[in-house]
């Protein structure tokens, strides 16, 4: 299939990115995930039980994603786990934001720990209410760290905010059990509405 070819292209080293260089220098960190990541995407796609959509039958534009080099922020080159700095500061990601939250309330909460350089409290595009997450940027690590520690778990309109770093330096460790049996029955629903069952 088209995407299998593209995955093979990645794995042949076409665009393995710079931020995972010098694997040997980093001890105790699972960095060999990077070249396997394409394989992981392939694996989770093939491990599903239900497939639906025209996209399986059509040539895709996904090739545009796979070619070429991608810019990164420099701090993400050393690969040990932990928060990553953004271009001009440190960004926190806040979830479980109550839908009636207002920007100024959010701002008042966060300005206590430092100078808020940027804040996004995005709205649900359909309802106009807060979507449920926000991003806050501080210039220094200490301000951000302090806000994270003090505001994680803080009540806002009856919801406990979750505050965490938005960006990290390397791939997330796999978690949970992915013990799929090697033989899976896949149900494919094609665009014509027919269902076919295929045993792999």
């Amino acid at each position: 299939s088209v995407f299998k070819q593209n995955i093979k292209k990645i794995m042949s080293g076409g665009d393995v990115e710079v931020e995972v260089n010098d694997i040997d220098d980093v001890s105790g960190v699972v960095m060999d995930e990077e070249p396997d990541e394409a394989e992981t995407v392939e694996r989770i796609k093939s491990g599903v039980r239900v497939r639906k959509g025209r996209g399986f039958n059509e040539a895709s534009e996904r090739i545009s994603m796979q070619e070429g080099e991608y810019d990164t922020v420099d701090s993400q080159q050393n690969g040990d786990p932990g928060p990553a700095r953004s271009v001009e500061g440190w960004i926190l990601f806040i979830t479980n934001v109550h839908e009636e939250s207002q920007e100024d309330t959010m701002y008042d909460l966060f300005r206590e720990y430092g100078s808020v350089k940027n804040m996004h409290l995005n709205l649900d595009r359909r309802t106009g209410y807060a979507k449920g997450y926000a991003l806050v940027e501080y210039e220094t690590f200490n301000e951000a760290k302090s806000a994270l520690q003090e505001l994680d778990g803080r009540d806002l309109l009856g919801h406990k905010l979750h505050v965490d770093w938005a960006f990290v330096k390397g791939p997330l460790k796999k978690r949970g059990n992915n013990n799929r049996t090697s033989s899976t029955t896949i149900k494919t629903i094609s665009g014509t509405g027919r269902s076919t069952y295929r045993r792999r």
Binding site: R51, K52, G55, E61, M65, D71, Q76
Partner: protein
């Protein structure tokens, strides 16, 4: 319930100014890739990538779940055409959707389609996803993606 998650969205067309497109992809290891290409006025291709934290992926999963997009089907949606193409591919747990459709002009196009509810669900989810990604990329790289 499996933890697997993958999401990719593409919108674009090929025309007078070359292959103009916007695409972003969230991979299971937290890597977010973003690409924006246009040859209009000789703009260059913008390509950014970064790793996002677990909570970002979890929030994305929640947004996808709440939208009910996994229950939809693109079978009768307008197919991609000369004007443009959208692709939305999501793996969530044990389900994998890969939807394609044309560009959607407005809610009027949706209301006149054969599956207004499904297409509307897609339309709003895509807007929410773009919002999400533009905030992440825009703040991290200090660029204005739009």
């Amino acid at each position: 319930m499996s933890d697997d998650f993958y999401l990719r969205y593409y919108v674009g067309h090929k025309g007078k100014f070359g292959h103009e497109f916007l695409e972003f992809e969230f991979r299971p290891d937290g890597k977010l890739r973003y690409a924006n290409n246009s040859n209009y006025k000789k703009d260059t291709l913008i390509r950014k990538e970064t790793y996002v934290n677990r909570s970002v992926i979890e929030e994305l999963k929640r947004i996808v779940n709440d939208s009910d997009i996994m229950k939809e089907d693109d079978a009768v949606w307008p197919p991609p055409d000369r004007v443009g193409r959208q692709e939305l591919e999501i793996v969530l747990g044990e389900e994998h959707i890969s939807f394609t459709t044309s560009k959607i002009g407005s809610l009027i196009d949706i209301n006149n389609s054969r599956d207004p509810d499904g297409l509307r669900c897609f339309y709003y989810l895509v807007q929410d996803l773009k919002c999400f990604v533009f905030s992440l990329i825009g703040l991290h790289f200090k660029i204005q993606p739009i």
